[in-house]
Symmetry: C2
DNA sequence: GCACGCATGTAATTGGTTACATGATTGC
DNA sequence: GCAATCATGTAACCAATTACATGCGTGC
């Protein structure tokens, strides 16, 4: 149920409308907790009913500016300190790795090198953000910086792994070939026979 | 739509019943693509209707042993080579990091150290598996080993990051304190006045 | 006056979780 | 005979995605 907490968290920094929140989700949480517009508006209504946020002000075009309530802050703190995070599950890219055996080694290698590239691209995006952003401004930026560092380290590790893995599948190919050669040799010893490769 | 491909992938290794698949999901894919029993049985029926798997044999207790079809293999290969993986989204643990500013530095540090511990625990579980499993048996094990290496590297990086981050929040505290001291000093220079900390 | 951006909502569908329901077989 | 395990399925619910629908305000 963490969409709720993402919304509460953003509102804990400053009051905002659903529209504002959508911009924040897209700007800062796209890679952490993406949300769609209908989700955000729906959640805001649910949160209002639950008394965790309130409409603090109304503006033009039916704008409703939401602010977190005391109950909301309590709930947010409760979530942060008492509820243990459920491990991040479901990794499409990794799932594929398990089944790379059914495509050719070349295709497997291609897949892994693409993963490496994708990680490298993301890494440089994060580096860009790191250099562009003005840190040491607010208390929030400390944690924004920490989250960014997570991104930097994970993308770096991901790239390293993918490159290693790509290498591994080619080595596996080579190993397989040498094993084939060995077994062919053993075959020769028994049968003194010279069959060709398929 | 990757539950479908997880099922196809497992069936590409060997025919299995829904019950068998559940065991495989829990044994090998828990941390990659978890699935519930109702999901698996439902998906098997959908896959059968779609002609991607077939009931190859029936056993006692109404057991239906499913096997992947040619169409199923084609679909699996198509997914592996032509469809680009959608980035792994939604990370509950990381989401919390963004909002650690609303709890005390001590609570923030505690959270991060717990994350480090959790990563370390998982890492040692993976190391255990690495040492216990008998690799170099089948072609599949090459990719199983590669996926495991991913787990090993990511948990290691995660632990490092969490320890660094825990340090960072304490340093941030210290930095803040020294800034406070500095500004108090500047105040003194101007006002020659000795006020206390709140 | 018109286009763009602000602003909110609903409906339909899919994917995932939890709980319930049922029964056959095997090994002791 | 009884317990554990094998084995399949359904129903209700929640979360997320996509598409649709509507309208006001501001700046050019």
């Amino acid at each position: 149920m963490s969409l709720r907490h993402a919304v509460l968290g953003l509102l804990s920094e400053s009051p905002a409308s659903g529209y504002d929140l959508m911009k924040l989700f897209n700007a800062t949480l796209t890679n952490v907790w993406p949300a769609t517009q209908s989700q955000v508006y729906g959640e805001l209504n649910k949160l209002t009913t639950a008394g965790l946020v309130e409409v603090a002000a109304q503006g033009p075009r039916g704008r409703k500016e939401y602010a977190i309530t005391e109950d909301g802050l309590t709930e947010l703190r409760h979530w942060l300190t008492d509820i243990k995070p459920g491990g991040s599950t479901r990794d499409d890219s990794l799932l594929r790795v398990f089944f790379l055996g059914i495509v050719t080694p070349l295709e497997a290698q291609t897949y892994l090198l693409q993963q490496a590239q994708r990680a490298a691209r993301l890494h440089s995006v994060y580096e860009q953000i790191d250099q562009t952003a003005n840190w040491d401004e607010e208390m929030i930026s400390v944690h924004g910086r920490i989250a960014l560092e997570y991104g930097l380290r994970m993308t770096a590790a991901l790239e390293d792994w993918a490159l290693w893995a790509a290498d591994e599948v080619t080595h596996a190919k080579a190993r397989k070939a040498s094993e084939l050669a060995r077994s062919r040799h053993k075959g020769k010893l028994r049968e003194e026979d010279a069959d060709e490769e398929g």
